[in-house]
Every structure is written in C-alpha cells, then in structure tokens.
Amino acid sequence: MILSFFSDLFAYEFMLRALAAGIVLGILAPLIGSIVVVRRLSFIADTLGHFSLVGVSASLLLSTLGVSVFFEEPLFLGLIFSVVGGLLIELFRRSYKSYKEISMVIVISLGTALSAVFFSKAKATGSIYTYLFGSILTVNNYYMYAILITFALVALLFLFFGKQIIAVSFDETSAKFLGINVNVFQLIFMVTLSVVVSVMLESAGVLLVSSMMIIPVAAGMKLGWSFRSTLIIAIFFSELSVFLGLWMAYSLKIPSGAAIVSVNIVILLLVASIKRIVQKRQIAKMDKETS
C-alpha cells in the first residue's frame, strides 16, 4: 500500500500538488499556530474558519445564479470574508473588553447562519463536505498560488518583525516600552491570521483548520525547552502528520483534514504519554537516591 502510494505520488500531477501544498502548510500552520497559542487565540482561528465559510458558500450561490466572481474560485471570497470576520472580532472585542469571548460567539453564529442560508440556495452543495473536512487531493493551481503568496508574506513578516511579534504576544504591556504600537500590531496579526485560515480551508476543512495550527504546537510544547526548539519540533510533527495524513486520505479515501488531524492527535497522545512515563521514572529514581 505504501509502495503504490509513493509511485502514485510522483505519477500524478494532483498528488504532487497536494504534497507541495501539504509541505508549505506544514510549516505555515505551526508558525502562525505558535503565536496563536502564546496569545491564547485558539478559538479565534476556529471562528475565522467558520466565517470564511460564508465567502465559500456565497461564491457557490453566485455561481448558481450565473454570476462569476474571482474566476468562480470560492477560496478568494472565503479569504475576503475571513478578513471581514477578523475585523468584526476586533470590533466586538473592543466593545466587550472584559468578556472578549462574546465577540467570537457573535461572529461564529453569524458565519454559520449565513453559510447555511447560502448553501441552501446554491446548487453545488456536494462541496460542503470538502469545505467542512478538507480535501488536499483536489487543490488546484489558484490554490497553490494563494498558499505560496501567503507563505512568502508570512515569512517576510516574521523575518522583519519576528521579534516584535513575539514581544507583543508574550506581554502586551511591556511591548509598549519597545515603542511598538500594540493596536496596529493586533490589526496586522488578525488580518494575517484570517488570510492563513482561509488558505488552509480547502485542505484542512472549516472544522479542523485550528487543530492543524494548534495540535503540533501543543505536542512541541511537551518536548521543547525554548521557543526555537518548540517551533522546530512543532514543524517536524506538522510535516509528519501532513505526509501520513496525505497517505491515509489517498489510500483510505477519507477527507484529508480529518486524516491529518487524526495523525496529529496520535502524535500528541504519544508524546504526552512518553513524557509522563519518563518523568515518573525520574521522580522514582530521585526518591530512591534520597532514601
């Protein structure tokens, strides 16, 4: 089964495209995910995923009505709605300063309701499944361009402002003493996160996009001893799960998002269990030495 997967991987263009998309997302997801975790924004990623579904469903509805926008590619309208969702969260967060999670409930409800309405009126409802659970094997060239451009922008952002991004994420108050405008930073990060979520939508799926960002980082945190090592470990786990997930999705004919996230969860459970066993042994050894 593995051998036929490898031979098919290089025999078909769609497989190579899926692999390339997977490799890039395997770096992008934990890179943004590590900041999302430090800033405790895990549920915002989930909310943005739901809101970008409004764009996807609107695009399908417009296509049904014979209106062609953005080359009839749902990704682009999804991207715009994801950014709108991000800005709405920021707006509501400022109105409910002590109850910031309210903003996410409002945006996620609005997103889900509008998506349901648009999907119900669109003809191509079969693709709902793809957008909910992901289908990396069907990604097209537009999607590849979107992923590569997003990756380049995020890489540049981290290259030039990585220090500031990390400073604000760990401690907003002290970031002020570096001369960083925290409000502008919040806005830039929210827009970046919205774009990343929307380009991950097709391969990870609305329901699993935040998992693909967060779970490899959660596993990295169990083993990492520094910010850098945690990120490298998270990227390694992320790439491993993308590759194994791609194989499972192709061989077992299951949604790619579900396959990738399942591998991620297995890795996290293994890492957490092994760490617990090692720690217990170390404590037992220390107890033995002291007694």
């Binding site: 975790v37 220090k163 760990f170 002290s174 001369g179 945190m221 520094s226 910010f227």
Partner: protein, 224 residues
C-alpha cells in the same frame, strides 16, 4: 528624567481613586509609594505609564505632556507579580531578553547586566523552570535592558522570600546609584533597606502626603 505630576485625578467609571495629586521628581530620585490595598498605588503607576489615560490633571516628562510623549523605551517596568506575562510556553531567559532588546543593545551589556543581577548561570534555562526569585530578577533585567532612565517597580517582592527581598533592594539601590530614577510601590515591605529620596503615602480617602526623606516620619510611614 524630570517627572512632574499636576493635580492628577483618576476614576474607574464613577469610582474615584486619585484626587488632585501633585508631585515632582528630579532625575536620579527614588520614590517609594506606600498605601493600603485600594489606595490607588497601581492606578498612579498606570497613569504615569500611559496605560490609564490621563484626562484630569497633567503629567510631564522633561516638560513634555504625556499625551504627546512617545519615548517609552526610556521607561523600564516590572508589573505586580509579573501577572501580565504569559507563562507555560517554553522560552529561555536569553530568548526572552533578546526579544525585548532594542537594536542598539549588545550582547556583552546583556551578559554584564545578568551578572550584576546574579542570574548569568541561568541564561539558557527555560523560564518555566525558574524559582520566584530568579524569575523576578529576569524581569528586572528585562526592564533594564534598554538603559532606561526611569525604573518602575509595582510590588516587586510580592512573590519572593525575605532573603531574596533584601538582595533585591540592594540591587535597586545600586541601579539608583547609577543615576536611574526609581519609583517603587510597596504595600508591606519595610523601608529599612531602601535608599529612597522621597515617600508618597496614599490614603483610602484619597488624601496623600508627599515628603522628602529628611522630613519623613519613618515610623508613621511604616504603619501604613
């Protein structure tokens, strides 16, 4: 840096915390702010740092209005119990300090600072493995990284033991001796180990006493 506060009042909604407070500090002064919980100590610091917007009264830094002030890197701040910081995520002392260093801060200055604070040996440690005393010195190092002119410490000894507290106040005295203005808030600590120049006592009824060291009745202040 010269700090001038004129008739500062502040309220959280309808609850007034500071009323008509005025004081002046010259460069190199060491102000201890004493007062019971709820007397407005942290509120005052947050006003000075521009975290609480100053609407009634005025604050000037070197004669520049706080509302136009932008040279915040001249301030170093250690917040109460370091509560603002995000723990649990692995990050080493060196990584943390690199992130909060401005471009002109070099590695040798950073190492010298860590040595002065007695934490050079933990530079590659994950901050989650540090004791309260070590962590506190890391945060002071962070506040000192960019050569601030003013160091603001909000109840900095809240999470450390007595021995570390004395060591800590010696370090603050040394830093003040180098010409850095210090504003230190304390609820419980004795002033015995501090080389303070001024004391501000805040009362729950929003009255206050601002005194220079020579004219200050230490026994009265310690009772607060």
């Amino acid at each position: 840096m010269q700090i001038d506060i004129h008739n500062l009042s502040f309220a959280y909604g309808h609850r007034s915390v500071l009323n008509n407070l005025s004081l002046s500090l010259a460069p190199g002064d060491y102000l201890v702010v004493k007062g019971k919980n709820g007397s407005g100590k942290s509120t005052l610091v947050k006003c000075i740092l521009g975290i609480n917007p100053v609407k009634t009264g005025m604050i000037f830094f070197d004669h520049e209005d706080i509302n136009n002030f932008s040279k915040w890197p001249l301030f170093g701040y250690v917040s109460q119990k370091f509560e603002e910081f995000n723990y649990e995520y692995p990050v080493t002392v060196n990584e943390l300090l690199s992130v909060y260093s401005l471009k002109n801060t070099n590695q040798s200055y950073r190492l010298k600072l860590l040595d002065q604070l007695g934490i050079l040996d933990i530079i590659n440690e994950n901050i989650n493995n540090l004791s309260g005393g070590q962590l506190q010195r890391v945060f002071i190092a962070r506040a000192m990284l960019n050569n601030p002119e003013v160091l603001i410490l909000d109840e900095p000894t809240a999470s450390i033991d007595k021995l570390n507290t004395e060591y800590f106040y010696r370090t603050v005295n040394q830093l003040n001796g180098q010409g850095i203005t210090v504003i230190l808030i304390t609820h419980t600590d004795s002033l015995a180990h501090m080389n303070y120049s001024h004391v501000l006592s805040l009362n729950l009824d929003m009255t206050y006493q601002f005194q220079v060291r020579d004219k200050c009745d230490l026994e009265e202040v310690e009772k607060i």
